[in-house]
């Protein structure tokens, strides 16, 4: 009951913000807020595999790209047929169906890609995932560059704009992502993920099928990256392969490391911080990477557990209360 109330209030608040925010802060800051939301989805999902399950993926941009292009292809090439199926709905209803269909297809496609990458590379212990995901991210980008139907190097333009309410949609999915991953962490599944991070041999001896759960974590993480990609494509209505380079994956890793590996709140803080700083120093272009490297070194020196540490604030207290009762 309290949960239903939470979602109603959240949706009302988002609708309210949607109508007011761009008036208050102007189009430029409005765009940054939306990009921050997308980066929160990406960072929190990357944190599931890198922080919580303790594997090291450095190709999150690949799944982001798959989601973006899968969704954009669907709404561009499938627009008329989907509108035909739901022609009984008013225009805005049709748009919403298209938008959500894009998101669902993006999640499924990215999830399948995650399964294909995860099964061979996660069966082994060690850094294989890092190597494979690094290669995978580049392969995806090169494939996109060479497929003319989705724009190739020119970029994918003419994606239909399906909504004026992107603040609403993006932050709705931020809430979905955060609550799904938080719920997962607090269940038996989450304990299995963390046990793999802490000690894979002991986890296996306690009956955790480590391969299966590593792949599960990776697939869920990929799916949310796909959702982030879909939202990005819907919002910008233009996709370019340059948005999905290794540098993008690298920024995402910086976000979760600075925020604190394994902490969901940390990933959110990291995503907001890095997105805003990236925007503030836009004029420095590539030199920002140098700045981030220095920032990363400083964080590692003075606060190696990240800004928020590995856990969540306000959590241990509640847990303790439960244990006492």
């Amino acid at each position: 009951m309290r949960r239903i109330l939470f979602w109603i209030v959240a949706i009302l608040l988002l609708v309210g913000l949607q109508t007011q925010l761009s008036g208050w802060i102007g189009a430029y800051y409005y765009k940054i807020v939306i990009l921050t939301g997308i980066n929160i989805i990406l960072a929190v999902s990357l944190n599931l595999i890198n922080g919580i399950t303790g594997q090291f993926s450095i190709g999150h941009a690949g799944f982001y790209a798959i989601g973006a292009y899968a969704s954009a292809s669907l709404v561009t090439y499938g627009e008329s047929s989907i509108r035909g199926i739901v022609s009984f709905l008013p225009r805005i209803g049709q748009d919403t169906v298209l938008l959500l269909a894009g998101i669902v297809v993006a999640a499924i496609t990215a999830g399948i890609a995650g399964l294909a990458v995860g099964i061979p590379s996660l069966r082994l212990r060690g850094d294989y995932l890092a190597i494979v995901t690094l290669g995978f991210g580049e392969i995806i980008r090169v494939v996109i560059l060479n497929v003319d139907a989705i724009g190739g190097a020119r970029g994918f333009s003419s994606i239909p704009v399906l909504s004026d309410f992107f603040l609403f949609w993006v932050f709705l999915f931020v809430l979905v992502t955060v609550s799904v991953i938080r719920n997962l962490v607090n269940s038996s599944y989450g304990r299995a993920f963390v046990s793999i991070r802490d000690d894979e041999i002991a986890a296996e001896a306690m009956g955790v099928d480590t391969t299966r759960f590593k792949v599960l974590s990776f697939v869920i993480s990929s799916m949310f990256a796909g959702i982030g990609g879909s939202l990005f494509g819907h919002y910008t209505a233009y996709l370019n392969p340059n948005s999905f380079t290794f540098i993008t994956s690298f920024y995402l890793i910086i976000m979760i490391v600075i925020g604190g590996l394994g902490s969901i709140q940390g990933s959110i803080v990291g995503a907001v911080l890095i997105t805003v700083v990236l925007e503030l120093f836009r004029s420095l272009s590539e030199f920002r990477l140098v700045g981030f490297s220095i920032l990363l070194v400083l964080v590692m020196l003075y606060r190696p557990q990240g800004l928020m540490g590995a856990g969540e604030m306000f959590r241990t207290k509640r847990k303790a209360a439960v244990a006492k009762s």
Partner: protein, 253 residues
């Protein structure tokens, strides 16, 4: 016909035969000791039983089911649990969470339950928590349930490993050198603990141990291996007087 039967098991690493033609049979409810000098193959036997290695020849049966080619996690779900020589607790988890994790393979919750936090998930999580706390209470660790596992003193970490292993509801409990690094007083307490665990949970315990006092003090049957082969088998008294065992430990004339 025991609860754990090893028949004619051989394991080779290249040219080295780590375990040769090993036979072992644990009766239900027994406390069985496996000893041998350094490099005798005790750890290999442990790894064969728990599924880390597959034997080259022979069979291993747990409660009548062949387990020699199964993954460690499936063997665990058939009722085998273990502790580790060098403690392997989940360091970033609390004491309570360590015990809760052991319930993982008996979970009823589906992925959907977990994501949507359904009512049945809440009930199961409460049940898991109560069971875990009850178990911790038996071992006098309930007061530290919310501390990080890595913050416990050494002896308590060893106890927690046993609690975690018990929380999987095993039929057979494998203890890999539980007395390692303990002083005589702690080792004595450990002996009582192992015996009471066996009686209370009606388990079969296989103990690998260097501390002769512990092994001789609590095991009903002892098997001695050296260079991968069984050299003696019997009660503690028989083992102590066996010339082959004395030779293996002290060297032949």
């Amino acid at each position: 016909m025991g609860i754990l039967d090893i028949k004619n098991c051989t394991k080779r690493f290249g040219g080295l035969v780590a375990v040769r033609n090993l036979n072992m049979s644990l009766l239900p409810g027994s406390l069985y000791g496996l000893i041998g000098p350094n490099g005798a193959g005790k750890t290999t036997v442990f790894n064969l039983i728990t599924g880390v290695y597959a034997p080259d020849e022979g069979s291993i049966e747990l409660d009548g089911k062949a387990i020699q080619n199964k993954k460690p996690c499936s063997i665990a779900s058939l009722g085998m649990s273990r502790t580790f020589q060098n403690i392997r607790l989940f360091k970033s988890m609390t004491v309570l969470q360590n015990v809760k994790l052991a319930r993982h393979m008996r979970r009823k919750q589906s992925l959907f339950d977990a994501v949507a936090r359904t009512r049945s998930l809440g009930e199961e999580e409460r049940e898991i928590e109560q069971d875990a706390m009850a178990l911790l209470k038996i071992f006098n660790l309930d007061g530290r349930a919310n501390e990080l596992a890595s913050s416990l003193p050494y002896g308590a970490q060893r106890r927690l490993e046993i609690v975690r292993a018990l929380a999987t509801h095993p039929k057979v409990l494998l203890l890999d050198e539980p007395a390692a690094g303990m002083n005589p007083q702690e080792a004595l307490e450990l002996m009582h603990l192992i015996r009471s665990v066996r009686d209370r949970f009606q388990l079969t315990v296989l103990l690998v141990e260097h501390n002769m006092k512990v092994v001789m003090g609590i095991c009903e049957n002892i098997q001695v291996i050296d260079y991968g082969e069984t050299i003696a088998l019997g009660t503690p008294r028989e083992i102590q007087d066996d010339p082959k065992v004395i030779e293996a430990y002290l060297g032949g004339a």
